[in-house]
């Protein structure tokens, strides 16, 4: 006969209650997260129209009690692509080369310092990078401009790209390196023609993740890019960007502009979701 401890009943009840609490906590915590995504999809989706993607800002017009703004956010879409694109161009060489250094010359004091510095960069609040770009460039040139925003975003992208490149290059099997060494290839030739191509897809996903993160950053842009109501392709002048529009249109008193804010938020969210899901799908097949 199995004997039970005298306090077994109480302990079993505590066990049930606490396990229930863990499940409950997970459900409760997921509710706001589902709500956020749901609201963004529903309210953002309802503001989507052809004009949303093809027109720039138009001042709200009052027709009687009805305030309308038939404009869209094309200027923001163009601006975000330009700013974040230039940021990617700046960050990619630095991040990938630094990542190669960390992976190919892994254990020395320089590599330790570089790793520490990438940690510092990725830990720094994005507003700090904005403050630095503002004091260093906006104050000295005396003007807000799109390219300053690109530089600030590049600083935020570099640690992500560096660390992904390093991690991925370390996953390339050592035997591949040895095979190319056995053929007499110097280190740089083997890195560029054997190791990098093997890891290329994963590096691209790292860059995409960094792109998605940078495209959603707002705080540095407030201090560097400023924003623009007109469609502009000039990175040397203030230019619009999607997250900036989300922020500014949220602060506007006109419901039509608030709707546009939901629309831009949906565009940003969709972009993040798309990049993350495609990265998840791509890496699932690669690195099993």
């Amino acid at each position: 006969m199995i004997s039970q401890a005298s306090n077994y009943r109480r302990r079993a009840i505590v066990d049930q209650i606490m396990r229930g609490m863990a499940i409950l906590a997970t459900i409760v915590a997921l509710i706001p997260l589902f709500l956020i995504i749901g609201y963004v999809i529903v309210r953002g989706g309802s503001s989507f129209s052809i004009a949303f993607f093809t027109e720039a800002y138009r001042a709200p017009i009052a027709l009687g009690d009805d305030i309308r703004s038939p404009g869209g956010v094309l200027h923001g879409i163009v601006g975000t692509i330009l700013i974040t694109g230039l940021a990617t161009l700046i960050a990619m060489p630095v991040g990938i080369m630094a990542g190669i250094f960390l992976a190919e010359y892994p254990s020395n004091s320089v590599a330790m310092t570089v790793r520490f510095c990438t940690d510092v960069l990725s830990a720094a609040p994005s507003i700090i990078v904005g403050v630095v770009a503002y004091t260093l460039i906006v104050r000295t040139t005396g003007a807000f401009a799109g390219y300053i925003g690109s530089i600030a975003l590049a600083v935020l992208m570099i640690p992500i790209i560096t660390r992904t490149t390093e991690e991925i290059l370390k996953l390339v099997p050592q035997t591949v390196r040895e095979a190319s060494m056995a053929l007499g290839a110097p280190k740089w030739w083997r890195t560029l023609t054997v190791v990098l191509p093997a890891a290329l897809g994963a590096i691209v996903t790292g860059v995409m993740l960094a792109f998605a993160r940078a495209a959603g950053e707002t705080a540095p842009l407030i201090l560097t890019v400023l924003g623009n109501n007109n469609l502009s392709y000039n990175l040397m002048a203030p230019i619009a960007a999607l997250p900036l529009l989300t922020y500014r249109y949220t602060e506007q008193p006109f419901p039509v502009l608030n709707d546009l804010a939901w629309g831009t938020a949906l565009v940003l969210t969709l972009m993040v979701l798309l990049v993350n899901i495609s990265v998840r799908v791509a890496t699932r097949n690669r690195l099993r």
């Binding site: 302990r11 505590v14 066990d15 396990r19 609490m21 863990a22 906590a25 915590a29 997921l30 706001p32 997260l33 956020i36 995504i37 609201y39 963004v40 060489p93 630095v94 080369m97 630094a98 250094f101 190919e104 310092t113 570089v114 510095c117 510092v120 830990a123 720094a124 609040p125 507003i127 700090i128 904005g130 403050v131 630095v132 503002y134 004091t135 260093l136 807000f144 600083v155 007499g184 290839a185 110097p186 280190k187 740089w188 998605a212 959603g216 950053e217 707002t218 705080a219 407030i222 201090l223 997250p243 989300t246 922020y247 949220t250 608030n258 938020a265 969210t269 993350n276 899901i277 998840r280």
Partner: protein, 326 residues
């Protein structure tokens, strides 16, 4: 050249032939890697240099003086310091227990088929731009909170505790900011908790089960204590994120800069929000310098928090080899 080669040993000759151009390659990658170090140096130098005026004029005491009014020359940053600390602490107190419980659920209790999608969903949420959280907070959560929580709370409990009282006018307040920040840092804490709980060795659990513990007793007495350092590290990373969060705070906190709010249900300000809203149109050098000084302090605090947190997570993930940790 032939004479040269003859003086070399065969091994050196092979090295020279197979390492042709490697020094150049090393130098190029090294210089890009050092560029990363240079960036950190530039950031540190610029905010140190830019805050010089404020540091010399006020020193750290300005951070603990009430009354922010740049036009009159009053640079008491206490409202921002208070708002930052209070909103982040609210966020941590809410997100901490929830995050750990999610981590426990994901590693110990979750059915296998739910584990991957749920983990992925949690990670996805960490990637959503903060401005989206801010937007949702402004239009959905703040009005809801004002009507259904803040006003009833202020009229009942608030009569006794002034911290939850005051007159609730706008929906924007430190409390709402704290709750939104909690939602934002929850994925961070949950993901790290899950990771450090997942590496707790199974013999910890098995030993507890063998002496007749229930599942919860295994979790509470064997798993969580073992993963404690990592969990605390995850919470500190979350706290660091909450302290430096700009957009959500800027949109929801209400921007009441002149004094420390008496109640959590009144509008306030955080340091990051203050910097973002005032730096682009600062009145004078002193004003600007004071804002950069606050950025400097913020940078220092987040760095220290992150450093400790990373050490704790690393320590926890490494685990003791052959030793028992309480």
């Amino acid at each position: 050249m032939p004479q040269d080669t003859q003086q070399l040993t065969t091994w050196q000759y092979i090295q020279r032939r197979t390492q042709h151009g490697d020094v150049f390659f090393w130098f190029i990658t090294l210089s890009f890697a050092l560029a990363v170090v240079g960036l950190v140096a530039v950031i540190g130098f610029v905010i140190w240099n830019g805050s010089e005026l404020a540091r010399e004029r006020f020193g750290l005491s300005a951070l603990f003086q009430d009354g922010w009014n740049p036009i009159r020359g009053n640079f008491g940053a206490l409202p921002a310091v208070y708002g930052t600390l209070v909103s982040s602490m609210i966020a941590l107190c809410l997100a901490g227990p929830f995050g750990v419980l999610i981590g426990v659920f994901l590693t110990e209790l979750c059915p296998q088929w739910l584990k991957t999608p749920l983990s992925f969903f949690v990670e996805l949420l960490a990637a959503i731009p903060s401005v989206v959280y801010g937007l949702w907070g402004v239009f959905v959560f703040a009005p809801f909170f004002r009507d259904h929580v803040a006003i009833p709370l202020a009229n009942s409990v608030g009569q006794v505790f002034p911290l939850l009282g005051g007159t609730v006018t706008a929906g924007r307040s430190l409390m709402v900011t704290g709750i939104i920040l909690a939602i934002m840092i929850l994925p961070t804490i949950a993901a790290i908790s899950r990771d450090v709980i997942a590496v707790v060795p199974n013999h910890q659990r098995e030993a507890m089960l063998a002496v007749g513990a229930t599942r919860w007793e295994v979790i509470w007495k064997a798993v969580l204590p073992y993963a404690r350092a990592g969990i605390i590290g995850g919470m500190m990373l979350g706290l660091g994120r909450a302290l430096g969060e700009t957009m959500a705070a800027l949109m929801i906190v209400g921007g009441q800069k002149s004094r420390v709010p008496e109640s959590l249900l009144e509008p306030g300000i955080t340091a990051a929000a203050l910097i973002a809203s005032e730096l682009p149109n600062a009145n004078d050098f002193l004003h600007e310098s004071m804002l950069i000084f606050m950025a400097f302090v913020l940078f220092g605090i987040t760095l220290i928090l992150n450093g400790i947190a990373r050490m704790l997570v690393w320590y926890s993930a490494r685990g003791p080899v052959g030793s028992i940790r309480a």
